[in-house]
């Protein structure tokens, strides 16, 4: 009998989301499983509605990219109640302040994710090697949208790595953006004006880093730019051209495939354990290790 | 009768509106160069519709128009303008956000907005009309009479050969009217232009026009040289029946009955900064007060101040001895009704039907449980108003936006006829109303007074004031400068007073007092 899986990303306007969907579809095609991908356009309500619609269509399993970690609990409950396996991808289910990343919400079949704390941590390690040793280094952070939980995780991981490396640093500025390159540009421009002695800028995504690179270039500044949540085509180009020092390899496509795998296991084998945590390794990407990150999304 | 070929001829022009109203049923019209052609008719006869058709604003549903012997088919007002037809429309369309100067030259061509020639031409125009508005004032800030004058300048500015004027004098006071007459004469006699002139004032028509066409129900019922007619014939042709002139039967009038006791209305030092000097006044039950004055003399301000519609006004207004709170809601509740001068801007909700407009100020009267208006009763009221004021509308469900000017005006009056209004404030109530209905309305006012209601009426037609009022106040520059008993004054005196040349009149009680109260 033919199986159908559903997937509800956050918004297919974002390449990252598109890649998860692509990876999911690709893996499903190989396995001969039909897929339904519904786009909630970044709205929690629409995500809930899409899940309702999938349940109405009686799919055999549902994956989703939680727009809101806490709200996601009720979605998982609902799907679980309907007796379908459910897998969350990329973003945690359950309050990130109280639940550890590697301890998924118990009703989930699996949680497939980039470890964002680790993503920040890898950037931090990279940064630690770049900071001046003889004085307190000044760092500025280009944050994502303050409403997203990853913003805090990225920053925490980044600081943890610097602290572990014993770096002598001060975060002199941290400003929110809406994850877009244009805001990245303005924020960096303002950083560079307010602090002409910055040593390093840490951007929480490649997108803002692209804009930031333009600002650095225009100001003729020597500040080092690194990012996390990278591996995108744009980031790849920027690192190759020397506009950005490095980023961290995240792999949405792989996530999509892993999510499919987890769903398939849960749907075909009732003995599959619940609440598995599935993740992958995240190498640094710098000019030297450009090809260590296989996806260019 | 000299034989000149008409500059414009209309043959069996007809118009049926989208809502099924037949406004014109085949009208012929010849307009001759150098002549003033009067177009008359009762409210809703189709005058404005005809004018909109010959100026290109509407498309006719049938018939032909020829211009200088050539059949034309305007598809836009621009086409008509370009050929030399300039129109002053009834509901004066100016651009409120542009200056007077720019409004006057709105349709002119050329590349520059602030060309100095236009200022020069503006001065010339003003000189021609002998009226000087502030060229830099915003049109939106003007009163309705001033707007009317600006639109006359606008039409003159185009230098057209045919100038069409749809009730240019309806909202003007005597002085400005004289200016318009002079202009019209100058245009036709000296500059040899053709003029199509619409008016409800028969004296005006008699004095000014060379020929007249009378419309009734969308058909031309009379076409004649003015010299062969008199006012009675005209009135008969317009209304379709003999009408009796409302005489200035002041003697026959029973004076205000209850002059003793508490006055119905008392004003104590009512004033409004920059607009109205302190006024004190006492009006009895059943008394009709006329307010005379020129354009911008503050008559409307006085009415608005009494009604509580002017937020800046200070001073006390007492109705039957009770001080009123200063809000329109309180005034209406206490039994005051206001007919404002700008019917579309202030009097009516254009997208409401006749019946919903009518019942707006007195919904309780047609509501069940004092809460739920009952459309059936409201429609009945609409029917009644249509009958009472002979409003030309097929049913009360017609939107007031679709009514002719005079009929819309009647609706603003009818709004106050169905509740217990003790004090009527009427600001130019007969503006744009035809001769038949005007008499009816003036009679209605007398009848109301007879029933013990009090009326304050503002009118630029002093004759009208003399016909209905018991007492007349004259205003100038925001001040009440004189008060006359109707028996003791004449139109001539009022004119002089309003124009500022009158004999030193007795001061109104308290207009000399300080603003204190």
């Amino acid at each position: 009998e033919e199986m159908t899986f559903g997937y509800v990303p956050a918004s297919l306007e974002y390449p990252y989301n598109v890649q998860t969907a692509e990876g999911f579809k690709e893996a499903a095609e190989k396995a001969g499983v039909k897929v339904v991908v519904l786009d909630p356009r970044g709205s929690v309500e629409k995500q809930g509605n899409a899940i309702d619609d999938l349940l109405t269509q009686n799919v055999d399993g549902i994956g989703f990219l939680p727009l809101d970690s806490v709200v996601a609990e009720s979605f998982v409950d609902k799907i679980d109640e309907a007796g379908k396996p459910v897998v969350a991808i990329a973003s945690q289910v359950g309050d990130p302040n109280t639940r550890a990343v590697d301890d998924p919400y118990p009703k989930l079949s699996a949680f497939v994710a980039t470890d964002n704390f680790k993503a920040g941590y890898v950037s931090g390690e990279m940064a630690a090697g770049l900071l001046p040793k003889d004085r307190t280094a000044k760092i500025a952070i280009v944050e994502g949208d303050p409403a997203y939980a990853v913003v805090k995780l990225d920053t925490d991981g980044f600081k943890a790595a610097l602290d572990k490396a014993g770096a002598n640093y001060e975060i002199v500025a941290a400003q929110p953006t809406n994850w877009t390159p244009d805001e990245g540009e303005s924020v960096c421009q303002n950083f560079l004006t307010a602090h002409d002695d910055l040593d390093l800028i840490f951007s929480q995504a490649d997108d803002m880093a692209i804009g930031c690179a333009r600002a650095i270039e225009a100001a003729g500044s020597k500040v080092t730019l690194i990012a996390t949540g990278g591996g995108s085509k744009l980031g790849y180009d920027a690192i190759k051209n020397g506009e950005m020092y490095g980023s961290v390899c995240t792999r949405p496509r792989l996530l999509g495939a892993l999510m499919f795998q987890s769903l398939l296991e849960a749907a075909t084998n009732p003995d599959t354990p619940k609440a598995r945590y599935v993740t992958y390794d995240m190498p640094q990407i710098t000019k030297e290790t450009l090809d260590s990150c296989p996806e260019q999304w | 009768m000299e034989k000149t070929s008409p500059i414009m001829t209309l043959r069996s022009v007809a118009k049926t509106f989208g809502n099924g109203t037949v406004a014109l049923r085949g009208v012929d019209l010849d307009i001759v160069q150098g002549k003033v052609h009067g177009l008359l008719g009762a409210n809703g006869a189709g005058k404005s519709t005809l004018i909109k058709i010959l100026s290109g604003a509407f498309k006719a549903s049938g018939g032909t128009i020829s211009w200088r012997g050539q059949p034309v088919s305007w598809d836009s007002p621009k086409a008509a303008n370009d050929m030399g037809v300039a129109t002053i429309h009834q509901h004066i369309p100016l651009v409120p956000t542009l200056s007077v100067l720019e409004n006057v030259f709105l349709g002119s061509t050329g590349a520059w907005r602030l060309a100095s020639v236009s200022r020069k031409r503006f001065d010339e125009l003003c000189e021609r009309v002998r009226y000087w508005p502030d060229p830099d004032a915003l049109a939106g800030d003007l009163s309705i009479g001033e707007r009317q004058m600006v639109s006359i300048l606008q039409a003159l500015g185009t230098g057209a050969d045919l100038i069409v004027m749809d009730e240019p004098t309806a909202s003007l006071a005597t002085d400005e009217r004289e200016l318009v007459y002079a202009t019209v004469r100058q245009l036709s006699k000296v500059e040899n232009k053709a003029i199509l002139f619409v008016s409800h004032f028969l004296d005006e028509v008699m004095a000014l026009t060379d020929q007249v066409t009378v419309l009734r129900d969308g058909e031309a019922v009379l076409r004649a040289e003015t010299s062969t007619l008199d006012e009675t014939r005209l009135a008969e042709a317009i209304v379709g029946k003999q009408i009796v002139e409302l005489e200035r039967a002041a003697e026959a009038r029973i004076g205000p009955s209850a002059a003793s006791g508490t006055p119905r209305l008392e004003l104590r030092g009512l004033s409004s900064p920059d607009k109205l000097m302190p006024v004190s006044l006492s009006v009895a039950k059943g008394e009709v007060i006329g307010v005379a004055g020129l354009l911008g003399s503050g008559r409307s301000e006085l009415i608005h101040a009494i009604f509580g519609a002017d937020k800046d006004a200070v001073g006390d207004v007492l109705l039957d001895g009770q001080t009123l709170a200063r809000s329109t809601a309180a005034s209406v509740r206490a039994g005051i009704g206001l007919v404002p001068e700008d019917r579309m801007g202030q009097g009516l909700v254009p997208e409401f039907e006749i019946w919903r407009n009518l019942t707006l100020p007195a919904l309780q009267g047609v509501s069940a449980f004092n809460m739920l208006p009952q459309p059936e009763r409201e429609r009945e009221r609409g029917e009644e108003a249509i009958r009472m004021l002979s409003i030309k509308a097929s049913s009360p469900d017609i939107l007031v936006r679709e009514l002719s000017g005079g009929n819309a005006q009647k609706v603003t009056i009818a709004k106050w006829m169905f509740s217990d209004v003790k004090l009527f404030l009427l600001d130019e109530p007969t503006a744009g109303i035809d001769i038949g209905a005007k008499t009816d309305i003036l009679r209605l006012i007398r009848k109301l007074a007879g029933e013990g209601k009090t009326v304050i009426i503002v009118s630029s037609e002093f004759e009208e004031l003399l016909a209905v009022a018991d007492r007349i106040l004259v205003m100038r520059d925001g001040k009440c400068i004189a008060e006359r008993n109707v028996h003791e004054t004449s139109e001539h005196e009022l004119l002089l007073l309003a124009g500022g040349q009158g004999p030193k009149g007795q001061a109104v009680n308290g207009s000399g007092k300080a603003a204190g109260h």
């Binding site: 519904l38 806490v70 409403a147 | 509106f17 009516l348 739920l372």
Partner: protein
């Protein structure tokens, strides 16, 4: 009437396509109740938005206000109990409406810019209040109350049958009356008959049990009340007059200020209630929750033919507008239409629906 045609047309097209593709039937009771449920919060806000649009104002801040109400509820329910927290949330929301209205009416600033400002400011309050984190309810008692308040199911079979019969009766009565009095058929009468038939068919199709979720009931009640007030009471008449020509209304003795303020308070109150429902549904709130919902709300009202310049609008049509928008998204989901094409199609459908409305209306009143 255009919006009804547009809605029926859309549903018809979706039904045809799903049937043709052999998919789950679009017209299933399950799916229809889903659509109505999905649209309920937006509909509640859109109904109130219609009122504010009728008075000639505008409110961009609804979504932010709803989010703040949700945050206040979630943030306080554990400590003070469900109902007191609801009361607090509603108070906050209505106070914000009063604030909006007061700034618009007393300072005289355009409502668009005022509510654009408060939209940003209130969203800022949400961020401050939640400190950028998602809040959630912990207390099991409160959770139970929230479930009872929001997630209950209600059999409205009898209600729908009754409403259908009433509509049918009223409609037929009105048709007969206009026939006998020789007047032309009023489209509203025909509409009422069709509405009645549809309701009865729905009841028939459901086979005696028509279960809807509680928010749908709230929406129904709220809409019915507002519709009644607007159509049949003096207050409603005055609301239309205030928007149609506020100067004429003022000079007719209507307290324009009061009605305009009231509309703001109603709109924010409805937003607050939607926020309360939202919070009860999800039992948590994230600082970005409901972002952008104001545009859907306004779009629903305008699709329903509400004028942006005041004086005209109908809440029933607004409801149809909201259903139209949600049927569309739901249709996309049922059809599994590629995400890329959704935006394009949605945009086109919105314009076409408005066109049906406008062209349908042009027979009645010719504009230039």
């Amino acid at each position: 009437m255009g919006v009804y045609y547009a809605l029926l047309l859309l549903i018809f097209v979706l039904t045809m396509i799903t049937t043709y593709l052999g998919q789950e039937n679009y017209l299933s009771i399950q799916n229809l109740t889903n659509v109505i449920y999905q649209s309920s919060l937006t509909s509640i806000m859109a109904v109130a938005m219609t009122v504010i649009l009728i008075t000639g104002n505008f409110d961009l801040s609804v979504a932010s206000v709803a989010a703040l109400a949700a945050a206040v509820l979630v943030g306080n329910a554990d400590a003070m109990g469900f109902w007191p927290a609801v009361a607090l949330a509603m108070t906050v929301a209505m106070a914000l409406g009063l604030l909006n209205g007061s700034i618009v009416q007393f300072v005289g600033i355009n409502a668009f810019i005022v509510t654009l400002g408060t939209m940003t400011a209130v969203r800022g309050l949400v961020l401050i209040y939640t400190d950028g984190r998602s809040l959630s309810v912990k207390d099991p008692g409160v959770i139970a109350q929230m479930k009872a308040f929001e997630s209950g199911k209600n059999d409205v079979f009898l209600l729908v049958v009754a409403a259908g019969i009433v509509c049918l009766a009223l409609g037929i009565g009105s048709v007969i009356k206009s026939r006998s009095s020789g007047k032309s058929l009023r489209p509203a009468a025909v509409g009422t008959v069709i509405g009645g038939v549809i309701l009865l068919l729905l009841a028939l199709a459901s086979g005696g049990e028509l279960v809807v979720r509680t928010p749908v009931v709230y929406m129904g009640i709220f809409t019915a009340v507002v519709w009644f007030v607007l159509s049949f009471t003096m207050v409603g008449r005055r609301i239309y007059a205030v928007g149609g020509n506020s100067e004429a209304a003022r000079l007719s003795g209507i307290n324009v200020l009061r009605y305009k303020l009231m509309a703001f308070v109603l709109c924010s109150g409805a937003a607050g209630f939607a926020g309360v429902l939202f919070a009860s549904r999800l039992r948590s709130i994230n600082p970005a929750g409901l972002t952008g919902a104001e545009l859907t709300v306004i779009a629903a009202a305008i699709l329903g033919g509400t004028s942006l310049f005041g004086g005209a609008g109908s809440v029933i049509k607004t409801l149809a507008g909201a259903l139209l928008l949600f049927s569309l998204t739901n249709g996309f989901n049922i059809l599994n239409l590629g995400a890329n094409w959704q935006g394009l199609i949605e945009g086109i459908v919105v314009v076409v629906a408005a066109a049906i409305y406008t062209v349908g209306n042009q027979g009645r009143a010719k504009g230039h």
